[in-house]
Subunit: 358 residues, 2 copies
DNA sequence: TACGGCCTTGCAAACGTTTGCGCCAGACCG
DNA sequence: CGGTCTGGCGCAAACGTTTGCAAGGCCGTA
């Protein structure tokens, strides 16, 4: 299929490019190719005489030799490739995380393969088969939900190292890196409480995501500990959007009883939708109600009013996930402890003291 | 290194998982493994007798056989992997494009490898070496600039199929998929002109990006064709940010002569910054000036005033890039024509008729 | 019946790298 | 001076798949 060059050796690649192999270098150096292999491999290079080693290394770089990772992968069973399985690549919050992962892995000589399940389990299965057949060294999963637990266990049974990022799954012990969403909820609650709010509410995201669940818990516990009141509305089924936020806000305002003055939205977009509905109802923010968002989207200071929000270091999360994965690969036995990345509160104009009237 | 199982055959993978090979299936079926290979390969399966073929296919799936793509890649020289080289993965506009690419490629059985240059040419070189050594089948490059032309030519010389996405490079003929940025500029200009504006200006992005260059051209030509006036300010060195927008806006307002009333920002974030500065100077939008942004970021309708913007189908762009790539791979000789994805204008409240006074 | 043409299947050599094993020469020791 | 040890290198067998080639059987025709 692939022609061997006549004189100089070297293989013709698909596009007619010449590929220099170990054999080519060996021929040029007058040694056996296994010697070249050893000379170029950092660990076995001690087995070859110092000066031949240096000569071969110099020759290899001069000839433009590049180890064929495919062949190496076949032989060694390690492809130096890590797959990231995301739920929705369209989610803008994901990009910085991916960046962190990719740059963190790159430093360890690992490449990043990305794929997207679109939260479809058949698709996930197809992807996993693909990845197994490609012999990836490990998997990072970014949007795992409780219902994915069997799949996660399956992956683990296959012996594939697995690290969770962004979301964790209760009841399954796996190395993971997430935001400290519980703390995020606490920060939001504390902020509103410290401003004097005593009637609070949450516009919650889907509770199957650990991030939302923990945010809700952190918030509720803090509110309860302060003996303040929390008005409960249902959580959304879909992830943050203005429409969802509007719907929840309407539901909240339609409830009988005193209206909450401090609101914690699990997503900035949800907060936007809620603000629109509040304005329709003649409420102004922050005079009549305060609202805290989540994610600290880049335009929060341009909207009216600029949105107080919880900021998460997303790229750091990705880098940390990469670190964990590298640790797992280097010592397969141990499961590193889950790691948390701390969020912080960014105060803007959408929060203030509650109205005096109440 | 890897132990062979005693009785049943099968290889033990890194984590102790058992891998079923062609030889295992063949042994179980009592045929030679080459026959199994042929039976399972869609093109050569015609060579094997219908009923053995079916028997082998059934047995293979029953035994959980999965073709080892690494071994196949070594033999065939095709890895079914495509690399996407991005400039900045943190750019939120990129995520939908990546999604489009990944899902488009997946349908052709190709996997997507992503990497990020951070606009550092040494890094780009390292990445390319890595990719070559990994024998990727093709490369998609998303943020090429004129200064990258030598590298692009080098890739082409290596015989690696290459497709540009989002940005093109003048003077180098390569298959590409971009937004019709020229049209975007035209749409912005037409909109402002049709509202009655006669003095216009642009807050331009870095002109080394073909996208910005073409937007600028489309806008300027349309303005000139309408015999309206364009006030020129320098373009930014960095990509859209509120700070950049503010700086450019200040420069524009400090110019002597009549103030432009219609402004086209090459990025929504630039527009946001410009709006802030305008407000500082006591100008209100859209009463005193109109502004059109670009990218149609998801929160444009929540800012004050909601921002008129040019929307680009980003995911479609990614899918189209994938289509082009697949075409290139299927017939290596031909260079498919560059394709354009059409943007559209989304009118909101930041644009209106010019002030009567002028 | 002999022979040429198929349809199927087996054989074995690749693809490029890694690595256990063994060989050789030189050094060292008794 | 003979034996053992060791550093350095070559040999060849893998890793799992693909594929040209050939061999065997079967059929049809001369």
């Amino acid at each position: 299929m692939q022609r061997r060059g006549g004189g100089g050796g070297g293989r013709d690649g698909p596009g007619g490019r010449t590929i220099v192999t170990l054999a080519d270098v060996a021929r040029a150096a007058g040694v056996h190719y296994s010697t070249v292999s050893r000379a170029l491999d950092p660990v076995s290079s001690a087995q070859v005489n110092l000066e031949t080693r240096q000569r071969l290394q110099a020759l290899a770089t001069r000839m433009g030799y590049q180890k064929d990772m495919v062949a190496s992968g076949l032989k060694r069973g390690r492809t130096h490739t890590v797959a990231v399985i995301a739920g929705d690549l369209g989610n803008p919050n994901l990009a910085p995380v991916l960046r962190g992962i990719a740059s963190g892995l790159e430093q360890a000589g690992l490449m990043t393969l990305i794929s997207e399940t679109q939260f479809d389990s058949a698709r996930l299965e197809r992807i996993l088969n693909h990845l197994m057949s490609r012999r990836v060294d490990a998997i990072i999963m970014t949007a795992a939900r409780p219902r994915d637990a069997p799949t996660l266990r399956w992956i683990r049974r296959q012996g594939l190292p697995l690290v969770l990022a962004i979301q964790t799954v209760p009841g399954i012990r796996l190395p993971a890196c997430t935001n400290d969403d519980y703390l995020g909820g606490v920060l939001a609650a504390r902020h509103l409480l410290s401003l004097g709010h005593r009637r609070l509410a949450q516009l919650r995201g889907p509770m199957e995501f650990s991030s939302c669940f923990l945010r809700a818990q952190g918030f509720s516990k803090t509110v309860a500990a302060a003996h303040a009141e929390e008005v409960v509305v249902r959580s959304t089924a879909l992830w943050g959007s203005p429409e969802m936020g509007g719907a929840l806000m309407r539901e909240l305002l339609d409830k009988k009883g005193a209206r909450p003055t401090g609101i914690f939205a699990h997503h900035d977009l949800t907060a936007f939708g809620a603000l629109s509905v509040a304005e329709e109802r003649g409420l102004t923010c922050p005079r009549d109600l305060s609202i805290v968002g989540y994610h600290n989207l880049p335009h929060n200071d341009r909207i009216a009013p600029p949105l107080t929000s919880i900021s998460q270091p997303r790229e750091e999360l990705g880098r940390t996930a990469a670190e964990i994965l590298i640790a797992v690969l280097s010592k397969p036995g141990r499961t590193p402890a889950p790691r948390l990345v701390r969020p912080s509160l960014v105060v803007r104009k959408s929060t203030g003291p509650p109205p005096k009237a109440q």
